[in-house]
Amino acid sequence: MRIGVFICHCGSNIAGTVDCAAVAAKAATYPDVAYATDIMYACAEPGQDAIIAAIKEHQLSGVVVASCTPRMHEPTFRKTVERAGLNRYMFEMANIREHVSWIGKDIEANTNKAAELVRMAAAKLRLNKELKPKSFPVTKRLLVVGGGVAGIQAALDAADAGLEVILVEKQPTIGGKMAKLDKTFPTVDCSSCILGPRMVDVAQHPNITLYAYSEVESVSGYVGNFDVKIRKKASYVDWVKCTGCGLCTEKCPARKSYDRFNEGVGPTTAIIIPFPQAIPKKASIEREHCRLLTGGKCGVCAKVCPTGAINYAMEDEIIEARVGGIVAATGYDLIDWKIYEEYGGGRYPDVVTSLQYERMLSASGPTGGHIKRPSDGVEPKDVVFIQCVGSRDPSIGRPYCSGFCCMYTAKQAILTKDHIPDSQSYVFYMDIRSPGKGYDEFTRRVQEEYKARYIRGRVSLVYPKGNKLIVRGADTLMGVQVEVEADLVVLAVGAEAASESAKLAEKLRISYDSYGFFMEGHPKLKPVETNTAGVFLAGACQGLKDIPSSVAQGSAAAAKAIGLLSRDMLDSDPQIAFVSANRCVGCGKCIEVCPFKAIQEIDLRGQPKAEVIETVCQGCGLCNATCPQGAIQLSHFTDNQILAEVEALCRF
């Protein structure tokens, strides 16, 4: 093999603390190195051209570039060597910037270290093999998981682009959290007025199949061809027959059921249509509350239903589908605010969450849009808002800012004044976070025009005294303790990843962070991709965001999916495992551990052998580390290649 080595200065980024020429001179003495030089900017056009020229001039068969991290420019240089006629895998990088020049100032030590890293790279390169991808056909259908505003946007964009879309929503209606909101900031326009038409579009789009009250049961397969099972939960109502007339919900005698859509503000019935604009507008029975399903006696809804749609014997149904790509848009849940005993949430009826307050504000909510104290139905005058309940709190493992609470609290303070002109709002805040178009102006308006009193500090205790709630807190700007006698306390509860998001992540084989938010492929450059090819993210499931950002990400995820599924064939990554059948004893340990079910047992002349399903293998190499006889090897990271790197260090 004839290896060429290029030591990049990266301007002064590397050359400032590494003697690049000395490294190149040292590299020239390594086995199989035919050419070594230093170069100002390897990644710039002149640098790439110089590499191509050197490959041709010195008949190089492999290239080492010592520069920045391979996570940055490995793809760049692979293309460079490819342009010079080499296979793209006949290339190695030594990271002498992030791992050397940027973390130490000792030039002697850095130069020595850089030279050793180059030695490792060259030693590995000597064992590199040419690898070629394979291609396979693509299923042009998209699965969108989650029917909130992000999922709706992704589904509509993809469907408009001509893709078939399957939209799966856990609740009986799409709309997500946005459908529960009364108004939106900073325009204070009606939430259901802007979301409603989009929901109707979903229902009417010829390319969209909607499975509401359904969940993803399992996912197998790989990019281009995922096999998905969807569990359609038993709603006990035949939705083909149901017209959404609502007669059943009027007659149902189980009138003390928990109202999920209205966040428990007031009770509802066991058979429900969540709200008037629900899509699909179909009734469903919540099993745990239904008298017939739990106690065996009742049957009122079946009696009154004009179309005979009620079916108490209904069971969950599994639907199977093959899709080419998946968009996860599972949104968020509120943090459990009841753990803050000092605020009395859950103990004192007049301490409510922001989302409950939203339902109290909404004209379609259980109070008909009239703000009333849950305890006695009286209109409150002094309303205290406590921000950051559950946000920015490392002690409960939620150190992050939920992002939208400052804004919705300001909106709720404005709406409070609109509803009750002689009311006074008090907002306890830590910092006001309002970056966004018109956002900061909005938080000023609430203070200047609506005269909400903003108190910079936290609340220590809320307790009832008489028919008031005493709110004890601090105003840190004044440096004093303050107390407010409140009629109603609204907790601006922070958000966390939806409760079952981890389960879905495991089904989709995508990673999630310690809070349960799905991990994007790259925090800057791949914000909607995941590290599992063909799975994209939209909305708050990736990280908390407000409505416009969720919509934007929905569109972005759709664009990525459309791009992927616009192709007829896909290439598979060749850095995957391969089996030498003659060494394999068919023990199946690799099959046992493979996280992707990418290895199958085959019969080779009567002997069981392992075989890698090339399009499924993700290239983790767990099988390689598991196989005792080393019969299964990970291409580009074989035992011998890693051993060569170890040897390059240990021998010298």
């Binding site: 030590a109 990673s511 992707f596 390689n624």
Partner: protein
């Protein structure tokens, strides 16, 4: 090229590409100064690491070996680090039987965003290895001893 002027000891790191290698990059981008002893072998996943790589390194003259992967539950490949945790923990417990101080081998989890944590890990581990001093080598075949001497 022997280890630099005896200032450095030979420390080999096996880092998963997705989290810890990224974390080391993040530390570099943040200019978090670190000791220079560590040499990093990049592998796709901590699950790729055969404990024998570590034994090979330690028998081959490494003074310390550091393995770092994604935090449990954050594995890019979903499960690799869970397997690694079992294998590496067993290995660590095994080293004393060979007369190798178990502190010469550590494994940990560093995510791609934890540049500062990576700096801390490298500093702490390097200090630990320097505290233990150079490892005593294992006898090689006589002919190799000569060859190595020549190579040096």
């Amino acid at each position: 090229m022997s280890v630099l002027n005896t200032k450095e000891l030979r420390i080999i790191g096996f880092l998963c590409n997705w989290c810890s290698y990224g974390g080391a990059d993040t530390a570099g981008v943040g200019r978090f100064t670190q000791p220079t002893d560590l040499r990093v072998v990049r592998v796709p996943c901590s699950g790729r690491i055969n404990p024998l790589f570590i034994l090979k390194s330690l028998l081959g003259g490494a003074d310390g070996v550091l393995v770092s992967g994604c935090h449990p539950r954050d594995c890019h490949y979903a499960e690799g680090n869970f397997y690694a945790r079992r294998r590496l923990e067993l290995l660590k417990g095994f080293l004393p039987v060979l007369g190798i101080d178990p502190r010469r081998f550590e494994y940990t989890w560093v995510s791609a965003s934890e540049g500062q944590r990576w700096q801390h890990v490298v500093e702490a581990f390097t200090a630990q290895i320097h505290g233990l001093g150079p490892a005593r080598g294992w006898p090689e075949a006589p002919e190799l001893e000569i060859l190595n001497a020549v190579a040096r």
